[in-house]
Amino acid sequence: MTLFFQQLVSGISIGSVYALLAVGYALVYSVYNFTNWAFDAFMVVGAFAGFYTISLAHLPFWLATLVAIIATVLFSVAVERIAYRPLRNRNAPRLFMMISAMGANIALINIMNKAFGGAFRSFPEVTTGSFQLGGVAIGKMDLLAAVLSFAALVGLYLFLYRTKAGLGIRASAIDMTTASLMGIDNDKVAFLIFGVTGGLSAISGVFYGIKYAVYPYLGSMVTIKAMIASIIGGLGSLEGAVVASLMLGIIETMISGYASSIYRDLFSFSLLIIILLFLPNGLFGKKNADKL
C-alpha cells in the first residue's frame, strides 16, 4: 500500500508540471487553433534564466523565478512577433504556423545548446529534501511545485474570468474575427496570450530545472507529454488540460510501478490513440473544434 501511495504522490507531482504546460497549449489553441510548438524552448529559457540568476547573482529563489518569468515572457512575445504574427496577418495555413513554431523551437534550443553547452547543471541552494508521511516520501520541492502550479492555474482562471483582458481573450477564442470587429485588438490579445503562456512555461521550466537539472534538452519529453495531455483533455479546453495532465502523470507512474517501466511511454501513446478513437474531441473538447 505504501508503494501505491508513493506512486500516487509521484504521479501527482509529475502531473502538476504537465498541467502548467498543457494549459499553455490549450490557451494558445483555444484562440489560434494551432499548437505552439515552441513551449519546449520557452521552458528551457526559463530554466536557464532562473539558474543563472541564482548561481551568478545569488538572488533568492522567488526573485529568480520572477526573473525567469520576465525573460521567458520577452522571448515568448518576441517569437510571436517574429515567427507567428506575419503568418497570422497573412491568414497563412495552419501548417505554416506549425512549421514556423517548430523552427523557432529548434533554433532557440540549439542556440542555448551552443551558448551554454549540453552539460547538466544543478540549481544550488534550493530546498531538495523530503519528509515522510506514513512511509511515503514527499519531496519538499514537489510540494512547492504542486502548490505553485495550482496557484498559477487559479491565477490564470481569475485572469480569464474576472478581468476585462480575460474577457477579450475569451471573446477571441470564440470568434477572432467578430471579436476584432467589436473593437478587441488582436495584437494585444496575442501579446497577452503569449505573455501568459510564456510565464507558465517559465514556472514549469524553473521547477523542472530544480527537480532534475538544467540543460538544453530539458523540455523535449515533458512538452510532448503535456501536449498529449492537452489533446486527451480536448485541445482548447483548460479544465480538460488540467484533469488530463494529472491523469496522465498518475497513470504513467502506476504503469511504471506495477506493469513495466520500460513500456511506460508505449502506454501513454496508446492511450492517446485510444482516446482519439473513442472520444475524438478529447475528454472536455468542444464538439466542433475545427472552427471555420
Partner: protein, 299 residues
C-alpha cells in the same frame, strides 16, 4: 569511389524518403514529426523477411515498404477521423515513432533490440538506389498529377470545401499517408541493406527533422525541390563539417525565415518542369517543321 558512393546511396535514400514526406506534407498539408519511424519499420521488415524467411531481396524491399504503409494506418485512421488533422496528427506521429522505437529497442528475439540487428548482407548498390529513386520520382509525379493528387491538394487547401465538393477527405488523407509511408519504408529497406546493420538509434527524431527540412526548404508543393534539398542536406554536412554545430540552429532559423518570407520554399511552387525547358526546343522544332513544310510547298 566508396565515399562518393556513400553520398550517392545515402543521398538517394534520403531523396526517396523526402519524396514520401513531400506527398504528405507538401501536397496534403499534413505535418508529420516522426516519419523516420516508417523507415525503421520498412528497414526492419525487409531485413527480417530476407534474413529469416528467405524472401528474395527486391521482393523483401517491396514487402517491407508495404508493411510500413500498413502500419501508418494505425495512427492515420484515428487521427484523421477526429478531423483536427494538424495538431493531433503531428503529435500522434511523434508518439507513434517513439512507441515503435521503444518496441524495437526491447525486442531481442531475431532483431536483437538495442544492440542492433547484425549480419544483414550489403546488397544495396548505387545503381539500385538510382533506379529506385527515378522510379519513386516518376510514380510520385504521376500520383500528384492524378485524381488522387488533386484531391490531396484540395484537402490541403480547405478540407471542408473539398468535402463539400465530394472529396472523401478521410480516404484522401489515408491514401497520402499510406503512399508516403511506403516511400519511407522503401528508403528504410535500402538503408538497412546498405548499412548492413540496423539499430533503433538510426531512426531518431533528428532523422525525421532532416526529412521535414528537405520538404520545407525544397518547396511545399513540389517534388523536385524536396528531392534536391534532401540530397543537398545529406551531402552538405559532409562538406560542411566545420559548421556542424550550427546546423540545427540554421535549420530552425530557416524554417521560420522561409515560412515568413518565402513559404513556397526555395524552389517555389513550381516544379522544375522539364516541359518548361523543352518548350523552346519544341517550339523551334515546330517552326522547323513549318519551314520544312513551307519548303515542300515551295517545291
Amino acid at each position: 569511389m566508396g565515399y562518393l558512393n556513400t553520398i550517392l546511396v545515402l543521398g538517394g535514400i534520403q531523396v526517396i524518403a523526402a519524396l514520401g514526406l513531400a506527398i504528405l506534407t507538401g501536397y496534403t498539408g499534413l505535418f508529420s514529426m516522426g516519419h523516420s519511424v516508417y523507415m525503421a519499420l520498412g528497414g526492419y521488415a525487409a531485413a527480417v523477411l530476407y534474413m529469416e524467411l528467405g524472401v528474395p531481396f527486391i521482393l523483401a524491399l517491396i514487402l517491407g515498404a508495404l508493411f510500413a504503409g500498413l502500419c501508418s494506418m494505425i495512427i492515420g485512421y484515428p487521427t484523421f477521423r477526429s478531423q483536427l488533422r494538424g495538431d493531433y496528427f503531428a503529435i500522434a506521429t511523434l508518439g507513434f515513432a517513439e512507441a515503435v522505437r521503444l518496441v524495437l529497442n526491447n525486442t531481442y528475439k531475431i532483431i536483437n533490440g538495442a544492440i542492433g540487428y547484425l549480419g544483414i548482407p550489403k546488397l544495396t548498390s548505387p545503381w539500385l538506389v538510382l533506379i529506385a529513386m527515378l522510379l519513386a520520382f516518376v510514380l510520385a509525379h504521376s500520383f500528384t498529377k492524378s485524381q488522387w493528387g488533386r484531391n490531396c491538394l484540395a484537402v490541403k487547401q480547405d478540407a471542408t470545401a473539398a468535402q463539400m465538393m465530394g472529396v472523401n477527405v478521410l480516404k484522401t488523407q489515408m491514401t497520402a499517408l499510406f503512399v508516403s509511408a511506403v516511400y519511407c519504408g522503401l528508403a528504410g529497406g535500402l538503408l538497412a541493406f546498405y548499412m548492413a546493420y540496423l539499430t533503433p538509434a538510426m531512426f531518431t527524431v533528428t532523422k525525421s527533422s532532416d526529412l521535414l527540412a528537405a520538404v520545407v526548404f525544397g518547396g511545399m508543393q513540389s517534388l523536385v525541390g524536396p528531392a534536391i534539398a534532401g540530397f543537398v542536406l545529406i551531402a552538405l554536412p559532409e562538406i560542411l563539417r566545420p559548421l556542424e554545430s550550427w546546423r540545427l540552429i540554421m535549420y530552425g532559423s530557416l524554417f521560420v525565415i522561409i515560412m515568413v518570407f518565402r513559404p513556397q520554399g526555395l524552389l517555389g511552387y513550381y516544379e522544375l518542369e522539364l516541359g518548361r525547358y523543352l518548350a523552346p526546343i519544341r517550339a523551334a522544332y515546330a517552326r522547323l517543321g513549318i519551314r520544312r513544310k513551307a519548303k515542300v510547298d515551295a517545291a
